[in-house]
């Protein structure tokens, strides 16, 4: 089992969900996140005073996956997030030891 984590622009999250649903991946967790990467935030101006905003608003999407779905899911997410401009985000995959479905007590792939 793997955990796919994507930090994405807020407005692409519906596209990500649609793309994953087409692969019959039916669950995801979304949290608000802030951060910066290569673009180093952005500039705002209030009454002539400039502010450097270091942290950009993002959404963090997390999806638990069976190993055989990882490549297709990764491709789908990257495609859904891609605009080609700076700030498109990052996607990474980490191994997961155990998953338990709280309602039934099922473990592993059955719990995804």
């Amino acid at each position: 089992m793997k955990l796919l984590t994507a930090v994405v622009r807020p407005f692409v999250v519906d596209d990500v969900r649609d793309a994953l649903e087409r692969l019959a991946i039916l669950g995801m967790t979304v949290t608000e996140a802030q951060g910066y990467g290569r673009q180093k935030g952005h500039r705002e101006v209030y009454r002539g005073a400039e502010y450097q905003v270091d942290f950009v608003q993002k959404l963090r999407v997390e999806v638990l996956l069976d190993d055989d779905l990882v490549e297709r899911a990764l491709e789908a997410v990257v495609k859904a997030c891609h605009t080609g401009r700076i700030g498109d985000g990052k996607v990474w995959v980490t191994p997961v030891d155990t998953v338990v479905r709280v309602r039934t007590g099922e473990r592993g792939s059955d719990a995804i």
Binding site: E44, V45, Y46, R47, G48, A49, E50, Y51
Partner: protein
């Protein structure tokens, strides 16, 4: 004989001006950080309470009672006792005196409320309330007397600027705008800069508040300016049109400056430009033609926008730019009356430089403005300094950094947490979920 039309307009105008104070609370509240919004709003709002009581007890009497040497009124009207039956105004256009009392009260309220912009995010509540009471009495009341109290209107003798100098100030360019701008400088000097300013100048936390507040100010300003005609008449209509025209051109003026200087027209700039234009046209709204008002508006918008940088050059944390928007805008507006005023618009006025009046009116405008500025600056410095030294006008460092709302008021504006992080502890000590 009371004129019901005039009376109705004056009462509505008083109500419109009242609305400017909660409007200002929104305007200011949006410009500060979320941890200070309640403090800024309540300091503004409480002026309605404090000045209302001062006005009743002695404020109105000292501002509009019979003049002592043209400098201040007497105590003859203290307590507003027995005024219910009295009327004021020219024959055929009488209004109840208490309508005038109410209208002028709202001017006093908004003027001191403007000063919150100079002390935002760091002023303690009770010392501020004491400051409001003393400042209105010692600074606002005399200046209002100088400029608004006309011989014979309410009392036999009025103020020197209105009757001897014949400075023209239709709706309070000196008493409200220049006065608050000068006092803001004094207050900011006494209370000191916010921690970290200007290195970490705080960003506005809610620009929609600012826009809504600016909209309410614009709306209320119709009462402020057109109400100053003290009747439902042609001068009121002229003032109304001039008010909105000046705000319109000032918005555009401010935004063009921003586009050229910063590369983007901003929301805060549009809101600030509107206020700058309203400030700029205030003294002249009943004396100039609509095209003159348009010129005054665009000048106010451009000048105030450029003046915003002044506080950084002076190193003075006039947090919400009371000096740049109200002080400089009011100063410019007062002087521009000396250029654009026309007796063709208002026979009670004078001709400015552009209407064949020469420099005569201009120097009268300058003298009234500088007198208000000087008295406001000096007296505010003394009042603020004494209160600061005795009671402490400023919150301590921790309160300011952790959030003055919580430290001063035991409240916070927003509870956005999903988790039940706040437990209600009832008065009896039992825990409520």
């Amino acid at each position: 004989m009371i004129d019901t039309g005039d009376t109705a307009w004056l009462l509505v105008s008083a109500a419109l001006v009242m609305l400017m104070t909660p409007g200002l609370a929104l305007f200011y509240g949006g410009m500060v950080r979320s941890r200070s919004v309640l403090n800024v709003m309540v300091l503004t709002f409480v002026c309605l309470a404090a000045v209302g009581v001062v006005w009743l007890l002695f404020g109105y009497s000292l501002a509009f009672g019979d003049s002592v040497g043209g400098v201040i009124g007497d105590f003859g009207l203290a307590g507003l006792h027995g005024l219910g039956e009295r009327t004021v105004g020219p024959p055929g256009h009488q209004v109840p005196l208490l309508a005038f009392v109410a209208f002028q009260l709202m001017f006093a309220v908004i003027t001191v409320a403007l000063l919150v912009g100079a002390v935002a995010e760091r002023a303690r509540f009770w010392p501020w309330l004491l400051f409001v009471v003393v400042w209105v009495t010692v600074v606002y009341v005399p200046i209002a007397h100088w400029i608004f109290a006309f011989d014979g209107y309410q009392a036999p003798h009025g103020g020197w600027a209105a009757n001897k100098l014949h400075a023209l100030d239709f709706a309070g360019g000196t008493a409200v705008e220049v006065n608050s701008g000068a006092a803001a400088v004094a207050l900011a000097l006494v209370i000191g800069n916010r921690h970290g300013w200007p290195r970490q100048a705080p960003r506005p936390h809610n620009l929609p508040f600012v826009m809504f507040g600016a909209g309410l100010l614009w709306f209320g300003w119709f009462g402020f300016n057109a109400g100053s005609a003290l009747g439902a008449n042609g001068v009121a209509a002229t003032s109304f049109v001039n008010t909105t025209v000046a705000a319109a051109t000032a918005v555009l003026g401010w935004l063009v400056v921003e586009q050229l200087r910063d590369g983007k027209p901003t929301t805060l700039g549009a809101a600030s430009g509107a206020v700058a234009g309203l400030v700029g046209i205030t003294p002249g709204c009943g004396y100039v033609e609509p095209l003159g008002a348009a010129a005054i508006g665009v000048i106010a918008g451009v000048v105030c926008s450029l003046a915003i940088g002044l506080k950084y050059r002076l190193g003075l944390d006039d947090s919400l730019d009371v000096l740049a928007v109200h002080g400089i805008g009011g100063f410019a507006g007062m002087l521009l009356v000396g250029l654009f005023a026309s007796t063709g618009v208002n026979s009670a006025g004078a001709n400015g430089l552009f209407y064949g009046g020469g420099l005569d009116q201009l120097w009268r405008q300058a003298v009234a403005t500088l007198a208000a500025l000087g008295w406001s600056l000096v007296a505010t410095l003394v009042i603020a300094w004494v209160i600061h030294r005795t009671l402490g006008l400023r919150a301590d460092r921790e309160s300011e950094l952790d959030g003055i709302d919580e430290a001063e008021h035991a409240e916070s504006a927003y509870d956005l947490a999903v988790h039940p992080s706040r437990r209600g502890v009832g008065a009896g000590g039992e825990v409520h979920r």
